[in-house]
Amino acid sequence: MTSHPKNSRSSTRLTGAAAVALATVAALVTGCSSSSDNTSDNPLTGGGASGDGVVVGSNNFAESILLADIYGEALKAKGIKVTYKPNIGSRETTYGLLKNGSITVLPEYNGALLAYLDKKAAPKTVEATTAAINSKLDPNLTLLQPAPAQDKDSVTVNAETAKKYHLTGQSSIADLKDAAKDLVFGGSPEFQARQQGLLGLKSVYGLQFKSFKALDAGGPLTQEALKKNTVQVADVFTTDPTIAKEKFVVLQDPKNLFGFENVQPLVRKGKLSQKGVDALNAVSAKLDTATLLDLDTQVQAQKKDPLDVAKAWLKSAGLG
């Protein structure tokens, strides 16, 4: 084992293998980093990347990704350099990334954003909502024009529960008052800790549910759990195509807990040119709830790629 020839042979083998391994690693590092540099943007180096371009982020649900694609493509049509950072997570995360400049533009919903910034605010108009948000917003951030399109969180019951407690589309969330203690509520993990969520349902409507099941942000888990009656009440987005399909009943919100939920771009100041601002405001002007529902259906039910849907709509609206 320790005779010289054998040793030197095994050590040349070792060196050879080490060289192969090193070459592989080098290929991995260089080869793949070039492909990821222009795509996944690193927040640590984000300052540099977003200096000459705009980073459009999105939350972790289908509509947010679609809206981000619409914003991004509208900006690209005006010759602005855009990179996407899709599917980041909840608002609790994306707001922080906007603040530290890792992302420049994010599709937001005005009422939910306000509730995140100020638990007590209850504005009566869209304008008042925008004003209230701007007063609470981080000084580096600003809101552009809101779109007429709304997509609200909602308190939605499945057909079975609606039948059991005689609930219809005209019923109010308050009508759950007596039943709540027997019902399991399903929603995103963040819904549990939000004013526009379990906290508000308790303080505004006095509802205390039997328990809360953390699922996803109005996504397939929530739909499935509601369908199978694992949860009886859930937070479903009002533009969700499955509401009609599964005969879910959305309850009225007379105390306006879920407020206005207009789609509205939230941007970091100074990173977006006036040309870009105009482009996004033009998008907002054309985007109404019916359009949004139609685009959502194309993505979620007809399984079209959100980017294609975004491009096609921008083109038809004269913005692409």
Binding site: M1, T2, K6, N7, R9, S10, S11, R13, L14, G16, A17, A21, V25, L28, V29, G31, C32, S33, S35, S36, T39, S40, N42, P43, L44, S58, N60, F61, A62, I65, D69, Y84, K85, P86, N87, I88, G89, T93, L97, S102, D216, G219, P220, L221, V299, Q300, A301, K303, K304, D305, P306, L307, D308
Partner: protein, 242 residues
């Protein structure tokens, strides 16, 4: 768009691109783990009392679930690949340090004495005698670390599309396209098996003195996990697969 390889645009990668990304996120940490664990293991061989506390510390680190590790790191390293790779490197240490220590320790005393008698200094003895003899054990550790690393990268999806092939899982959910989840699982498993087979091949090349192929029938070359002669570390390693 409903084909197996039609990836949604928000992934920003082709299927092959995701594979490259996945391999990078999985293999670089193992390599880093190997580079760090070699000196640590040597220290543990040198100073026997060190081994128990080192083993204890790595066991505790290993008990931290990967997701929690990722989330806590976000504050320091952002929602980046690095955040996924650091925990994977730490987990690979847990596998590699004992594997190397056992491998180096398994070198017979007479062999070391013979090397010393031939005038080998400690460094030369380590590089030319101890390490080559420990190769089977080290490779066994690398196989375990590599396979589990490839599997764990997928969890990075939860911190904002940092899970390479795992990112397909979220899109399978939000776009109601189960075939994307199948793609993710099958591709990841195939990568793990290929990486494992590649390491077996590397061991064959590095240890030409070890008997192989004579005792067994030819097939199942890639899968001779527990059987390939003196691989003392394998059963012990089962402790640390994640």
């Amino acid at each position: 768009m409903s084909g197996f390889f039609d990836l949604p645009s928000d992934l920003q990668h082709s299927w092959l691109g995701l594979i490259g990304l996945h391999l990078r996120e999985a293999l670089l940490p193992v390599l880093a783990g190997l580079l760090v664990s070699l000196p640590i293991a040597q220290l543990c061989v040198r100073f026997r009392w060190l081994y128990a506390p080192v083993l204890g510390l790595t066991t505790v680190l290993y008990a931290i679930p990967s997701l929690a590790f990722f989330v806590v790191l976000i504050d320091y390293t952002g929602q980046t690949e690095l955040t996924v790779m650091i925990p994977l490197a730490v987990y690979s240490l847990v596998v590699l340090v004992p594997a190397i220590v056992d491998g180096v320790r398994s070198v017979p005393q007479e062999t070391l004495a013979a090397a010393t008698a031939m005038g080998f200094g400690p460094v030369r003895r380590y590089v030319q005698v101890q390490l080559p003899i420990a190769v089977p054990a080290i490779i066994a550790g690398l196989r375990v670390a590599t396979v589990s690393s490839i599997s764990l990268v997928s969890v990075g999806m939860l911190i904002g599309n940092q899970g390479a092939l795992g990112n397909l899982l979220n899109d399978a959910n939000i776009y109601h396209r189960p075939e994307l989840a199948v793609n993710s699982v099958v591709t990841t498993a195939a990568l793990a098996i290929l990486a494992d087979a590649a390491l077996v091949l590397v061991r064959r090349l590095l240890t030409p003195w070890m008997p192989h192929g004579t005792r067994r029938r030819a097939p199942a070359e890639a899968a001779d996990a527990a059987e390939a002669g003196p691989e003392p570390a394998v059963p012990a390693l089962e402790d640390t697969v994640r």
